[in-house]
């Protein structure tokens, strides 16, 4: 039995140690090869797996991703063909909430821009004024586990918080100390809009030209979720035109970002290498849990991250 790992950064020896107990061997390949002895795939958001994989890998039983996001997996299609898909849940909620707070503080207080100012030989005046965080209005788009933590942190910093959610009721949001709002209300009134929702057909490209035009010219956009939530061409235009004050992006349309990634030349942009999830502990969980789930499926046990019961 073989398990293919499509991520060349995966600590593959640790996965092998986990899979020893079910007698499977792990090997790396950027693209999953054809093979009747392949029973599992370890993957990541940069490698999409759809249901046609079973034509090449007929005995595939499980696909496990080292991410919370699953927009790269055809979960329903694979389940219909008897393949279990697993993600990892809540493995980095605190890290992402922490990183999001660090980025929104960095935007409002201008620290990255000011570091560049000083290194460039300037001192005063500031190209963009640092602002007071206390009393600033934050719009949190998405009210999952991370959104809850983010709301709590932002309220603690003295911010006023609006939550945009299709699922959470106004009283549930009020119980967390925030106010339910429509996306347009949040865009039009917030100092910072933070995207912390998953990519679905309803949210893909949700921030485009119209939405950016609704934002205040002194407002910041923070994305620690997925790049596909944003129309990046529209975002680049809005930044160049000064329609918004700046942004912080932890997700880019192509990851790792290629040399020609245009965001590198956008003004007032903080770029992060998909780092919000990271701490030493969360990184270990992100690789160990999927390998463990593959071992469980192969052993006939229930995997912890199963997304949909298989046919």
């Amino acid at each position: 039995m073989r398990v293919i790992c499509t991520d060349d950064t995966w600590p593959i020896e640790r996965a092998q140690a986990t899979l020893d107990r079910v007698g499977a061997t792990v090997e790396f390949a950027y693209e999953v090869p054809a093979g009747e002895d392949i029973v599992g795939i370890l993957t990541y958001p940069g490698c999409a797996i759809d249901a046609t994989i079973v034509e090449r890998v007929p005995n595939l039983r499980v696909v496990a991703t080292c991410s919370g996001g699953i927009d790269h997996l055809d979960v329903a299609g694979l389940a219909a063909r008897g393949v279990a898909c697993c993600n990892i849940r809540n493995f980095c909620d605190q890290e992402v909430a922490d990183h999001t707070m660090a980025l929104l503080y960095a935007c409002l207080r201008g620290v990255v821009m000011l570091d560049g100012l000083v290194r460039g030989g300037s001192w005063w005046p500031y190209p963009q004024p640092p602002r007071v965080v206390r009393g600033a209005r934050l719009g949190v788009v998405g009210f999952g586990a991370i959104g809850h933590l983010l709301v709590q942190n932002a309220l603690g910093a003295g911010m006023e918080v609006l939550v945009v959610s299709q699922h959470a009721a106004a009283d549930e949001i009020a119980a967390a100390g925030a106010t339910k709002a429509t996306l347009d209300e949040a865009l039009a009134t917030c100092d910072v809009v933070s995207l912390i929702t998953s990519v679905t057909d309803a949210t893909r490209g949700m921030i485009s030209t119209r939405e950016l035009a609704l934002m205040r010219s002194d407002a910041y956009l923070v994305n620690t979720a997925r790049a596909a939530l944003i129309d990046h061409e529209a975002l680049g235009r809005a930044l160049e035109a000064g329609e918004i004050a700046g942004c912080a992006l932890d997700a880019l349309p192509i990851e790792p970002a290629p040399p020609e990634e245009p965001a590198r030349s956008w003004p007032n942009t903080i770029l992060q290498p998909h780092a919000a999830f990271y701490s030493a502990a969360s990184e270990a969980r992100s690789f160990d849990n999927p390998a463990e789930d593959i071992a469980r499926v192969l052993a006939g046990e229930q995997p912890s991250g199963l997304l949909q019961e298989v046919a």
């Binding site: 500031y126 970002a257 590198r264 770029l271 992060q272 701490s279």
Partner: protein, 320 residues
Amino acid sequence: MSEGEVSSVKRVVILDPLWPLEESADVIATLDVTLEKAAEAVGDDVVAVLAAPEQRVPADLLDRAPNVRLVGTCSTGYDNLPVPELQAQGVTCIHVAGYCDDEVAEHTITLASALLRGVHQLDGFTREGGWWPFPREPRRIRGSRLGIVGFGRIGRLVAVQANALGMDVVAYDEFVDEATMHGLGVAKVDIDTLFETSDVVTLHAPLLPETTKLVNARRLAQMRDDAYLVNCARGPLVDHAALGDALAHGVIAGAAIDVYPVEPPPADEPAFGWPNLIVQPHSAWYSPEASLKPYTRQIDDLARFLRDETPVGVIPTKEA
């Protein structure tokens, strides 16, 4: 002409060339003195001198301007004024406190969280084409220990903000009791424990002879090699050269400084070559709201003094 009778109109010298006097035009119109900007205060007709932190008022000020009765700095820190010498000669010294406490506390938390999450370094890394593995491992903010040196107004606000992020907050201040710290969710520790155990050490002490180079090579060596230092207070609290050595040799993981030995720093400021350092242009105090308050409040205090009222920002005389 009798001795001392030189001019009928008294002068107030403003040492800061950028002082926005227009913001206080209404108050200034009520004063029977002239306000002028000059690099030096000289003359029998000078009654008051106002400075910004960038200007150092000389200890021998009264040798050249013997009738000065008020000296002010439009900042919270007043290490640019020779306060004991001036007070000994009967000069009232004023400063402006509390106009930017929220800003400094927020900027401090911003820098502490940026260091712990590697935001600044990872931005540069991504721009240069890097992606993975990260040159610096982001750490959790929740649960990290923040050590606050100096538990005055700003130190306390930093503690509140840090607690809101779930940090483990400890503080050192010999003048603040344990119960006061406990009331704000902070554990009082000795200074050795603070430096030895904190993930981030942040300075909020005034600059005094006994706090100069408070952070020296010995203190830096006490810090964990994965720990960070934040200084949004005053440059001379840190032995600058020792900080450079500590960063170059990995004695500590990084630092963020908003203040320098000389401000603005000269073009050959060595800090610009140090690794794992965030540099800021003395901006922690700034917000559009805070930017005008120190100037207008100080002119308000000048007006009070000239009306023989007590200024709000009088620096108390130290007991001998």
